[in-house]
């Protein structure tokens, strides 16, 4: 299991255990983390499962892929560490990861 801490825009926090091999989006949804909308179900089409990866995790999580980067342009509040959680696959290496959520996904 990979432990991930989600920090909401209002400061609420929730730590979940996700199975390695699932995407961060799937793990969040399976655990009822609010704010991960994911309308397209993980197809990198809707841009509504955005998270901001904590700075110390940038290296391990890596940056957005090409398609993801073009999707992220729908948002006005761009920030370092932004990823679509459907494009991040959980692995043991990411155990302890912290991500924060935007105020809005749209």
């Amino acid at each position: 299991m990979v432990s991930v801490r989600f920090v909401q825009a209002n400061g609420d926090e929730r730590t979940i255990d996700g199975e390695a091999g699932l995407t961060l989006m799937e793990a969040a949804q399976n655990n009822g983390v609010p704010g991960i909308v994911a309308d397209c179900g993980g197809n990198c089409s809707c841009g509504t499962c955005r998270v901001f990866v904590a700075a110390e995790w940038f290296g391990k999580v890596g940056g957005p892929n090409e398609l993801e980067l073009e999707m992220l342009e729908m948002h006005a509040d761009r920030r370092d560490g932004e990823r679509l959680s459907c494009q991040v696959t959980l692995s043991d290496e990411l155990d302890g990861l912290t991500v924060s959520l935007p105020r809005s996904q749209f």
Partner: protein, 421 residues
């Protein structure tokens, strides 16, 4: 799949005493929301009809429609009901992107996804602005017109520009798209005109692809058609699939965008304050459109169950035809406060977000292009057609689709384009 109430006894769909909806009647198309609300009194989420079952509860739509692996698109079922299997339009409808088996669909969609991102849509904005400006230069001096007719020329002109199609064909193809859009009104009497309309569109698409292959545009001059041709070559996409895809973009983008723009203007006719704001606040136009799309959108999504599904203690047997009513889902009283009020400033709960572009693997590929073109159009329309007023009666297009207003006569005070537009 068992999503609720593990302990309740399960019942088969056929045993339920479901309300029957006259979806094919004109009275239904004029006010489906009231019919669905009435149906809800007998069953909170599902109703029957001559065309299949209707899932009309927002939460049920979300729960079920997102289960992509348990459903399959039912466009072949529509072709069957219309007796059009084996015809060119039938073939297209059964083989278009949305109808392909999951692996093929995923491959094709991934191949072309790069051309439908928000970045790409944003790059198209200057062209969209130029298109709507040219249209308004021609139409605004009239002082009165049928807004639906005006709106119908916009998405198709954008699409023609995107693929470099010959402008003299716009009017003919617009008529074809108008006819094709009525296919899902499920009236077999329309089938002969549907075939003629499809034939015209298919010939145009085959011609523009052949011409472009012979004379590609390169560098800055390359447009969406060059990109689609190049991408299809890189991805070894068969010619027939490339043609079907371009045909589908015309079909999928036409009356969806037109009907949304027309209905949004209908809403704004009653809210001159918000309309005024659209003229000066480009970003606010996006909010107005989002709220417009909640109150109205053209789509009912047809699916077959691909296995037995148990939902809310009801067994939906494999191969049952289900229609998901995206078009009225935003009016669900359980999901939205004060659902009939047009309020672009309403707070949207991320867990109850309107779903006009559907959900899951078939979620609208064109949504970012659609949103961009509607925003650019609304912003300029509000600047050029001042103080619009409703100038007569309007009607409704057949349900389920592509549903929307039939005609919207308006009068207004023409205004010049601002110097920087």
């Amino acid at each position: 799949m068992r999503l609720r109430g593990e302990t309740e006894p399960m019942r088969n769909l056929a045993e339920l005493d479901l309300p029957h909806l006259p979806v094919e009647d004109a009275a239904f198309a004029a006010d489906p929301v009231s019919f669905f609300r009435k149906a809800k009194e007998s069953n909170p989420w599902i109703a029957g009809s001559n065309l299949g079952y209707w899932i009309h509860d927002y939460q049920a739509i979300k729960d079920l429609l997102s289960k992509d692996d348990k459903l399959r698109p039912a466009y072949d079922g529509i072709v069957q009901m219309l007796g059009a299997h084996g015809t060119p339009w039938g073939r297209f409808t059964e083989e278009q992107l949305i109808s392909l088996p999951p692996e093929q669909h995923a491959m094709l969609r991934t191949t072309f996804a790069k051309k439908f991102t928000p970045r790409f849509a944003n790059q198209l904005r200057p062209m969209m602005q130029e298109t709507i400006k040219r249209m308004l230069d021609e139409w605004a001096p009239k002082g009165a017109f049928d807004f639906e007719e005006f709106a119908s020329s916009f998405p198709i002109t954008v699409m023609f520009t995107l693929v470099g199609a010959p402008v003299e064909e716009i009017e003919g193809i617009r008529k074809s798209l108008e006819t094709l859009g009525l296919a899902f009104s499920m009236d077999p009497n329309r089938v002969p005109e549907i075939h003629a309309a499809y034939d015209r569109l298919e010939k145009l698409v085959q011609r523009i692809i052949a011409e472009r292959r012979a004379d590609p545009r390169r560098g800055d001059k390359a447009d969406l058609l060059d990109l689609l041709i190049d991408t299809s070559e890189e991805g070894n996409v068969p010619e027939r699939q490339l043609e079907d895809l371009v045909i589908f973009f015309f079909v999928a983008g036409y009356d969806t965008s037109k009907n949304v723009l027309t209905y949004t203007i209908r809403l704004l006719l009653d809210r001159p304050d918000l309309y005024e704001r659209c003229a000066v606040d480009h970003d606010y136009c996006r909010k107005v459109l989002d709220e417009g799309l909640r109150l109205f959108n053209p789509g009912s999504v047809p699916r077959f169950t691909d296995e037995d599904i148990v939902y809310r203690d009801v067994l939906l047997p494999k191969d049952t035809m289900l229609w998901f009513t995206l078009n009225v889902s935003g009016r669900d009283e359980l999901a939205f406060d004060d659902p009939d009020t047009f309020n672009p400033d309403r707070e949207i709960d991320p867990a109850a977000r309107p779903i006009p572009f559907s959900l899951g693997r078939h979620m609208c590929l064109g949504q970012h292009i659609a949103r961009a073109q509607l925003q650019e159009a609304l912003h300029q329309i509000a600047q050029r057609l001042r103080n619009p007023k409703l100038a007569g009666e309007y009607g409704w297009r057949p349900y389920p689709g592509a549903w929307g207003l039939k005609g919207l006569p308006i009068t207004f005070t023409p205004a010049e384009a601002p110097a920087d537009a």
